[in-house]
Symmetry: C2
Subunit: 112 residues, 2 copies
Amino acid sequence: MDTNQLSATFAALADPTRRAILARLAEGEATVNELADPLPLTLQAVSKHLKVLEQAGLISRGRTAQWRPCRLEPVPLREATHWLERYRQFWDGSFDRLSAHLQEIQKGNAHG
Amino acid sequence: MDTNQLSATFAALADPTRRAILARLAEGEATVNELADPLPLTLQAVSKHLKVLEQAGLISRGRTAQWRPCRLEPVPLREATHWLERYRQFWDGSFDRLSAHLQEIQKGNAHG
DNA sequence: TGTATATTCAACCATCTAGTTGATAAGCCT
DNA sequence: AGGCTTATCAACTAGATGGTTGAATATACA
């Protein structure tokens, strides 16, 4: 996958406010106000966080009257998980997978 | 897990240079010079990246003569993966797990 | 002792980030 | 039309980030 996309995803996930927003969206769609309500931030700050999440592809937004409902988008989360899977050999104790993983790494799709 | 630790991990992973370093370390220990060699950066810049990775707990460093060999540490990668697992329901098509995941989320260990 | 190698520290700089306040835009409702 | 709600845009600020160059530290080796 695209390196920049992966960087954007991890950068987006690095902020606890944005992770809180994603956790909320895991329960279903929400408007900007609903997302901002439990957070100790101005609406504008939350709006900025949503922009970051949207540009990273982690959320998408509808448009109903003056509301812009946000919903979780799975693809970047899947890609991030996929990237991390490469390192699973280091902690899951199953060294059967080791050589397969190393081969995949050395195939050239190395540091995504 | 600790929110700050998770933030540090994702922030560290957000940089492609640092991901390249981790990919190299997945093949085994390496010194700072070995890590810097393929990178279009000064040694000092690489040293800074290693400091970030070390503070995030993603690497640890030995000390042999004037060399400070780096090695991959699995725990933060495991924790990051574990955090992402919570969202697996959104892409893996197995909706059997959905309710279990939602329950876990609502238990209160929500937005880590 | 003196030099080469490996690595870090310090200072500096440009850019990005996360927040603020205030103004603006878009859509409903009377 | 006018007012309320929802949300974004614009400008600004403080602090973090990622890079540089130059100096310092630590260890080996002749």
